[in-house]
Assembly symmetry: C2
Homo-oligomer: 314 residues x 2
């Protein structure tokens, strides 16, 4: 544990499918200490979540036994510790704070599980997010803006007036991943350690045409025909595909009314995908506004403060 | 070998990536005998194609040593026996026949490798087919019509006036397959032995909305949200996904101008996908016209007859 002059005020857990991440947070929002392990929920047997938590943050628990813990991520899903409800969009941070589910820990103190968010207006079934709503709170909900959270299942959301107004999931990251690894593209592609932005731009361009040029199903074959035509090398294939599918996400988003060229768009996240989406946003005529890389933590702290002000759980 | 009163006139090979199929064909087009093995080109070492062919049809070769052999399928691709050129669309059967590549067999006689077809008008790279052009000839090129050939990489083609005018590849079958087996859908789905046409229709309906409802990337997540909402069971997931992706293919094709509701559409093939596409065509307001299940053989014979009339290879 690191020394700090600021007192700890809470513990924030970002507990996902494959990783466990815990942060010891000061009253001023500074991270005093952190723990990261491979104890994702898929590797923890049902009923063993508290034992894993206690083991991973034993030092903090003995130093601050009553410190509130806030948990977000897939730990709050059907396969996690406890399934929290979905708050319905439009929703503000107060609505998220009020829906926290509190559980008493055997070792003392409380853990608050943050809710997910549902958009009932999406057809044919309501759309859902779990964790991204917390990042959006950390990004800021005041200014009217569309924001995108790149990922396996990327999210487009409209925020403004203190609320998350509506959102939509695009499975872009997963489509890229399964095509790269398991399709005819896997036989062609020789992925490179560094992104080839020229090849990425070619893919983006291929996605940007008018409707008459086709959608995703009719453009994916260009990965092979580009190779047959001698215009795409195996080294370039993977980044071309990335440009194509991310570009298709932006095209779908534009056609659905998520943005108009010339507007600003928030890009929220902490991984290399942010640069990918920043370039795609520029290519589609948008002004990228990068969110803080620690939006998830900021959001959890903001929601925690509201919950504590409301007197919930304490 | 079966007895027949009709003399054999040629051998047709449909030699693909995973299967070898040979047909002994009579002058009247009747199939006198057939051989099917697992000797797809992926399992045959380069340079061993003639040995595999000779072994698989040894009886025919000794009975009819001079009988011409016509080969179509991936055997004519870069990874096959010999790579034949692509004829440029628009093309008629005569152009395909003239582009056959003839090779002398060590055991005597000739084998003619049928060409593929390219559409140079497709952006950003010319589209290609290899084998489907032969099926289209077998379906018939006289009547002005759009035809679809379902498959791993399904093809939409416009035929009429004796020509294949233009075409486009949709990677629908492969997208369905990799998502079913390797994505979040694989964790949910319990595929059933028989198609669930209700679930298929739900997927079709989800795909049929206006552009504002989104494209493939923003609709695929409905496989999970339908399950979360209690509207889709794991038993139904696979057929729902099938309806969704095939419906998206039809939607893209409609937006690209391949058809207008009320028109007829040819559906060419010999496998269970034909029924899937017949239902999708009806849902999109089209009149399905099923092609003969042996369109590939009919096409190869028609092209062979033209080649022989031209005096090529004989």
């Amino acid at each position: 544990m690191k020394a700090s002059s600021h007192p700890a005020r809470c513990i924030v857990l970002d507990w996902g499918t494959t990783n466990f991440r815990a942060l010891l947070v000061a009253a001023n929002g500074a991270i005093l200490d952190r723990v990261e392990t491979q104890d994702g929920i898929q590797s923890v047997p049902k009923g063993k979540f508290e034992a894993v938590l206690t083991r991973n943050i034993a030092d903090w628990r003995s130093a601050y036994p009553a410190l509130p813990i806030y948990a977000a991520g897939m730990i709050t899903s059907r396969n996690g510790w406890i399934e929290t409800p979905y708050v319905e969009a439009p929703a503000n941070a107060e609505a998220l704070a009020a829906a926290i589910k509190w559980v008493k820990l055997a070792g003392g103190g409380l853990i608050g599980f943050l809710p997910g968010l549902a958009d009932e207006s999406v057809k044919p079934f309501p759309d859902v997010m779990r964790g991204e709503e917390t990042q959006l709170v950390g990004f800021g909900l005041e200014r009217e803006m569309t924001a995108v959270l790149p990922g396996t299942h990327s999210k487009w959301a409209r925020v403004g007036g203190g609320r998350i107004q509506r959102f939509r999931t695009f499975v872009t990251g997963e489509v890229f991943s399964v095509l790269s690894r398991h399709s005819f593209i896997a036989q062609l592609a020789k992925p490179q350690p560094e992104p080839n932005w020229n090849a990425f731009s070619m893919g983006l361009e291929a996605s940007q045409g008018h409707t008459q040029l086709g959608g995703l199903l009719s453009n994916l074959f260009s990965v092979r025909t580009g190779w047959l035509a001698g215009k795409l090398t195996p080294d370039e294939t993977s980044d071309y595909l990335s440009g194509l599918v991310v570009g298709m996400e932006f095209r779908e988003a534009r056609e659905m009314g998520w943005f108009k060229p010339g507007e600003g768009v928030g890009i929220i996240g902490g991984d290399p995908l942010v640069e990918v989406y920043r370039r795609a946003a520029s290519a589609f005529g948008l002004e990228p506004r990068l969110g803080p890389s620690d939006a998830a933590v900021r959001g959890a702290i903001a929601i925690a403060e509201i919950a504590e002000r409301m007197g919930h759980g304490i």
